[in-house]
Each structure stands twice: as structure tokens, then as C-alpha cells.
Amino acid sequence: MTIRALLLGAIAGTAFAPAAMAERGADGEVKVIYWQAPSIMTPYLSGGTKDLEAASLVIEPLARYDQDGNMVAWLAEDVPTVANGGVSEDLKSITWKLRDGLLWSDGTPVTSEDVKFTWEYCTAEGGGCAQSEKFGDVVSVETPDAQTVVVNFGVAKPFPYGPFVGAQAPIIQKAQFKDCLGPKAPECTEANFNPIGTGPFTVTEFRPNDVVTLVANENYRDPDKPAFASMTLKGGGDAAAAGRAVMETGEFDYAWNLQLAPEVLTRMEEAGKGTNVVSFGTSVERIHVNLTDVNPDLGDERGTAKHPHPFLTDKSVRQAMSMAIDRALLTEIGYGDFGKLTCNVLPAPAIYASTANDDCLVQDIEGANKLLDEAGWVAGADGIRAKDGVRLSVLFQTSVNAVRQDYQALIKDWWAQIGVETELRSIDASVFFGSDPGSPDTFQKFFADIEMFTNNFDGTDPEAYMANWTCNEFPRPETQWQGNNMMRFCSEEYDALVAEMAGTGDLDERARLAKAMNDMLMQEYVMMPLTYRGRNSAHANSLGGVIMNVWDSELWNVADWHRKQGS
């Protein structure tokens, strides 16, 4: 088979290409570059996006999201809903039917036992499964027959599509992983590097953090796919080099996640060998405001709720700082066409996107100054406003990243125009996004007044995401400074909305609640959204079938990729 495929690949490179189309392996090799190299081929032992996407070439879930965020059946016959009877009326169980005739790449049939095993694998004690959240509230998985899987939840799940859905929760083969449960999971190196899957490709060689070589899966369910006989997934380097290799030298066919200045990307595209593609998910670059005092003199009580911030607790200061920001300019400089304007921390899907805060789209330095004047903050001799001896001077931290440093510089400039002094700090990403309780520089500990980063949520349901900002999510010494409510924002009203959403099944009602929470955060100005960020990648002009997808793995439809005729 391999030899035949290779031969066909060689032929495909010549004039016979059009004739060889629509046959498995007819288009030869496809080369993909990820500037962060995959280190493992299973999403369960690593939460990293790079690993998740590499794994998605080989192992697949029951259903996944398409480019618009709609759920599509993948290994399942169809997506179960209350309407088609797949989801029980009390929302406590969901029944999946596997497709007929599914085979693993080693030729054995895929059964409901494998699906059940996947749940056991990820919830085994001591395994440190990165996706165990997906299986939260699952009490049991039943397998009435080889094709049917029933997932039972301990509580009513208005959104029961956590387990076995999306790139985070693909099905693994029981036969291969049965001795790898719990603490033994990392010892199964062979299985972790070369999982047996149902996807269009199988691994031939896995070099961790370097390169993965794959060939077409002989047992893939569509006999005509994938069009490529083999695939190379190279890792390493940096985004600029990856972009160059696809769009300027044409050495590679697809480059992932090109976080580069928009003018650089545009210029690369002009070389005529590749195209940029972008898709928008839920990522928002935002500023968080610290409502507690982080003065080092406070010792152990630094940054706790006992000491409110000397001036950021004044809403007019926060509002003025938000008004002074020109989001359109930031977005144009930092992301160009790969970013959009937003005034919401919850920008998508469309039913959740609020329009109540759109005032923020226009910069208003004058208005901000007026607001501060009215609130009694008076500019001193150095141009910095003060009231009762408290100067408006903030420490603004973020991770090291060229675009973020540009944002910092611009924002510092605007805040200077409204009499707010800013000291900038940039921190290595591995420290900033880490959670070492001993380090003062983590984004959760937030020993600064202002911080900036990007966050998003998995899938399309924002419930868990909006629950990040309840009172008990405060990072504090008792939780080893873990917690998602970095602003230390606490509102009973907000907590009530979170609780209400957890018990609501109706989609429109859920949307109303999510919008209300979003609006509350925005109108308190504890969070200032800056840019709605798209994910952008690039593919060679000769590569067909690429559909950019941020809701799932970017490589979700790799089975449909093909070499375009005439190239």
C-alpha cells in the first residue's frame, strides 16, 4: 500500500495529477509547520493546543464543531438532542449511536466499549488527565450494545456535550491503553506517541518536540480520503519563520497560528505562494483592573480583599481609563484584519453578544478628563492627577509579546493624556501564566494594578466561563493564589446570575443571563476588552480544502485537504 501510495504520489506531481484526484493517497505529501512543536499525541496528558491539534489527525471524537461553531456528528450517526430523543427529558443522560462499520487503523472494529474506556481513562485516579473537566458530573457510561453509548450525569445538564465532543475529548482504543490507567498513563510512551485511531492519518514516526511523520490510514471510513498519502508535521522555530516557509519559500503547505504584525503577514502573502486565513472564536484581549491594594508594605495581606485599592475602587477612574483607550487603533496596529472591535468580554457566539456597551468603540479623552475632574481628581504640577494625597499611578503588567508591548506603549501614552501615570512591566510567559505561589509575577496573583492578556472558552457554551468572576473565585493565600477572578470583583447580584444560569435549560434565557453578566462586568469597568482576536494561519495556494476552524482543531477536516489541480 505504502509503495503504491508513494508511486501515486510521484505521479501526482506530474501531468497525471487531475486524473488521480479523488483517490486515497493520490496527492503525495502534505507538509505542515507548527512553530510550537507537538510533544505528545494525546490531548489527555497535555492541555497544549499544539498537542491537541496534532492528536486530532489520528484520534477523533463522537461529534465536533464546524467552522461556524455548529455541532456535527463525527464518529456518531447524528448529534443527540432532546428533540430527537437522544437526550433525556430530565437532561440527565445522553445516548450516542456509533456509525456503522467504523474501524481502528489496526483493522479492529470501534465499539462502545472503547468509548466507555475513554471515560475511565480520563477519570482514573492519579492520572492527571488534562481534560477531566469535560467528564465532570458524569456518573456512569453504559454500553447497551456495541454501537450504543449512554452517558449518565449526576445533575441535569442543559449542555450535555462535554464528554466525547470536540478535539479535547477524542475516543482512544481500549486494547491499546488498557494498561495505562491512572499513574501508569505516562509510562505508555509507545501508545502516547503512536495512538491507534480512526482519523485520516496514522503516525509512522513521532519525534517529540521536533517532527511527526504520518501516512494515510488504510482503514479510514471514506475509501477516497485522505487525498494525501503522507503528512509531515514539523515543529519548532518561530511564527515568522513558519509564515516565511509557507508564503515566501513555499517549502511547507500549512502554517499554524501566525501571531505576527499584520503588515508582515500581508507582505508575505504578496510573494504569491500562500494565503492567510482567519477565523474568529471567543478570544478577547482584555485589561483586568485590580480592586485590591498590592502595596508591598502590606506583607502577607498584600492583594487580599482586606485592603481595597486606593483609587481603582473609584468607578469613575476605571471608566475614564477605559474611555481613554482607542480600541480601533490598537486593533489596526496589532492585528489588522485578524482582529475585530468589541466592547464585550463575551463576543460570540452571536446569540450571547451584547450591544449594550458599544460606547467604548470611540475614544473619548475629553470625556475621560471631564469625568475625572468631576470626581475630584486634580492634576498636579507633574500632570498626574491626585486626590487627598493619592496619585493616579499604576503598574501595568503583561506577558512578553511584541504586540502586547505595543499595546502597553500606546495605552501608557493615552493614560498620560488623562493624568494617569503608568509603569510598564513585561514578564516571561512561562512565569506570568504559571501558578507558582512563590512567584509575585503570576497573572493570578496579580501584584500589579493593571494586567493584560487574552482568554477564551472551549466550545460554544459560556456558562463555565462566566462563572469565573464570582466572589469565591478570588485568588487568595488560602487557595495558593489560584482563582480566575483576578480583579477580585465581588457582586452578589452577579453570583445570583451565575447560579440562575446553572439551572436554566432554555437557550434564549441562557443567552439573556450571559449577556446580563457580560454587561455588568463591562459597565463596572473592572474589565476592559480591547480586541476580539481571530486565529490566523496560512496555507499554500496549491493546498485545497482548508477550512479554518477555531471552535475545534484547525486540522479538523484534514481528510478533505487536497492538492489543487494545475499546481
Partner: protein, 335 residues
């Protein structure tokens, strides 16, 4: 000299153990979190579970002891098993990387070939160019050759590889299309054609690295030669009618080698350490790229192991340098 060497080798064991402890404590003390690259969407409790699964819950002395046992007891057994087909290490836990959950030593073994190919070649090329340049520059001090050599080597030294690497890629890959910008680590050299392919993909990284190495070593060579060329013994040797070539290449060169030998010996461990930035720029994915990736991902077992291997090489090559001093200048005694 032999007793000296043996004594130093024996002394090296406690030294290395101490170094490994210091490295371990340093890594422990450094802020950072192996979960920092996990997306923010993964809940905090899950990250905590993942940390525990990596063994981070255990106290520091226990973890250091485990690493020591794995490195000095289990890994040699694995090596023996691989060579002789025995089964000493079966079922024993090896040093596992936190990023890949696979044995660290396997990845190191995978990475060594490309590092040796690229960095090793660059080192040899660099030395071969640097020595003659250094010698001739000193011999004809302030000639046009010397001036050009100084100029080029100082420029070479002052341009960081993150810039020179990108520059050669833009010139030779993007505009001229002569060489690939991405190094293929899976390429095997089996015949002449595949050797040519290998050569093509090696040229740019070797060029960038060799420039730096040449610059550095030729400066030391030149300075050291200059020191010796004006010595009385040179005058005496010439007065005795010894040929000029013999005077320079034997008398002067031998006496000038001490600082150069130090620089060269200190540089050899760096070959194995790889060239972090150059490897990154050309996607060579050798040891240097492995180390920087591990540091960024806070993969402590990987960093610890690599740093320790590096330490062993440094101690070893410093010893070799010391022995060479004695050979180059018999008057140097250590006892």
C-alpha cells in the same frame, strides 16, 4: 601527570554531585510552572491534579533522591540493556520528561545527531579557519590581511545570530532559493545525492555559527601569537639560523596555544549544548532547542538532566585542557 589526572577524576565525582544539587535547587527556586503552557480554559483544579501526577506534590529532597537514583542507577542499566540485550532495567522508572511523558534520555539520543552534524561541523570549520587567520594576522600585524581579518571577525562577533540567521535565510532561501530555510531532521544520508541534500541544508546554520566561532578563536590566537613573536627566544632561534617557518609554526605556535586551548576546550561542551538561537532560527531541533523548549515549559527533569550532562562535559573538558597545558608547556606542574 597521570596521578594528577586520576586525582582530578576522583575529585570530579563529589564536585559533580554537588553541582547537580545546586542545579536542582536553582530550578526549584526559579518561578515557573509546568502548567503555564496549558490553555487558560483548563480549570485550575485539573491543573493541580496534573501537577500531582507529575510528582510535584512530593517534598524536594525526595524528588532529588529519585532523580539521582534514576540518573546514576537506572539509566546506566538501560544503556547496558540496549547494548547487550539484557533486562536489568525492566520495570524500573526512568527519568520522564514532563512535556512528553517519555524518557528524557531517549529524546536526548534522538537529538544528538543533528546537533553534532551542525554545531560540530561549524566548530571544526570555525577552528580550521580561525587558526591560520590568527597566526598569519599576528605574523603580519597591521597588514591589510590583518586589518580585514579583524574587521570581519569583529563584525561577525557583534551581530547576534537571531539577526544574521534571518538575514541569510532572507537572502539565500527567499530571494535566491538556493537552500531550504527549514532543516529536515528526518533526512538520512545514504548515498552521494542524499549527502548533497544534507550539505545544502547544513550550509546556512554552519555559516552563521562558524562566523562566531572563527571570530572568537582567531582573536585569541592572534593576541597570543603577538605576545610570543616578540620574545627573546624567537630572536635567538632566528639568530641560530632556524628556518622562519619552523620558528613560527613550532616555537611560537606551541607557546601561544595555552589561551587558545582553553577557549577551544571550553567550547567543546557547548557543541553538545547546541546553539540555542541558531537551532531555533533554522529549525535544526537539536539539544539547544530541546533545552530552551524545556526551560520555557518548565520541564524540570529535562532541564536538570541536560544541565547535568552539560556539567559532566564541562568538568571533563576542563580537565583535558589542564592536561594539555602540561603537554604544551612541560614546566607547568600540578603536583
Amino acid at each position: 601527570m597521570l596521578t594528577f589526572t586520576i586525582r582530578r577524576l576522583v575529585l570530579a565525582v563529589p564536585t559533580l554531585l554537588f553541582i547537580s544539587l545546586i542545579i536542582f535547587l536553582l530550578l526549584e527556586l526559579a518561578p515557573g510552572d509546568p502548567m503555564s503552557q496549558v490553555p487558560l480554559t483548563v480549570p485550575l483544579e485539573v491543573k493541580e491534579e496534573m501537577r500531582k501526577a507529575l510528582g510535584l506534590g512530593e517534598p524536594i529532597p525526595v524528588r532529588f533522591w529519585k532523580w539521582t537514583v534514576q540518573f546514576f542507577w537506572v539509566e546506566p542499566q538501560v544503556l547496558i540493556d540496549n547494548i547487550f540485550g539484557t533486562h536489568f532495567a525492566d520495570g524500573k522508572l526512568r527519568i520522564l520528561s514532563w512535556q512528553t511523558r517519555s524518557p528524557v534520555m531517549d529524546i536526548v539520543a534522538q537529538r544528538i545527531p543533528q546537533t553534532l552534524w551542525v554545531v560540530g561541523t561549524a566548530y571544526v570549520v570555525g577552528i580550521l579557519i580561525a587558526l591560520p587567520i590568527g597566526i598569519y594576522s599576528a605574523y603580519r600585524q597591521y597588514s591589510w590581511f590583518d586589518q580585514t581579518g579583524t574587521f570581519v571577525s569583529m563584525i561577525g562577533f557583534s551581530v547576534p545570530p537571531f539577526f544574521s540567521g534571518v538575514l541569510v535565510i532572507v537572502i539565500f532561501s527567499v530571494h535566491l532559493g538556493w537552500f531550504p530555510s527549514i532543516y529536515d531532521t528526518t533526512h538520512r544520508v545514504t548515498n552521494w545525492d542524499s549527502f548533497l541534500v544534507q550539505l545544502r541544508q547544513m550550509i546556512m546554520p554552519v555559516m552563521v555559527l562558524a562566523l562566531q566561532i572563527t571570530a572568537q578563536i582567531s582573536r585569541f590566537m592572534r593576541a597570543s601569537m603577538l605576545d610570543n613573536l616578540n620574545q627573546d627566544y624567537v630572536r635567538t632561534a632566528r639568530a641560530k639560523g632556524i628556518g622562519e617557518y619552523y620558528v613560527v609554526m613550532v616555537h611560537v605556535l606551541r607557546n601561544s596555544m595555552i589561551p587558545v586551548v582553553t577557549v577551544i576546550a571550553l567550547g567543546v561542551p557547548a557543541i553538545f549544548g547546541g546553539a540555542i538561537i541558531t537551532e531555533q532560527v533554522f529549525k535544526v531541533n537539536g539539544i539547544g532547542q530541546l533545552l530552551i523548549g524545556a526551560i520555557q515549559a518548565n520541564d524540570l527533569p529535562m532541564v536538570q538532566t541536560l544541565a547535568f550532562i552539560f556539567a559532566v562535559l564541562i568538568v571533563l573538558f576542563n580537565l583535558i585542557a589542564d592536561v594539555l597545558y602540561g603537554i604544551l608547556d612541560p614546566r607547568i606542574r600540578y603536583d
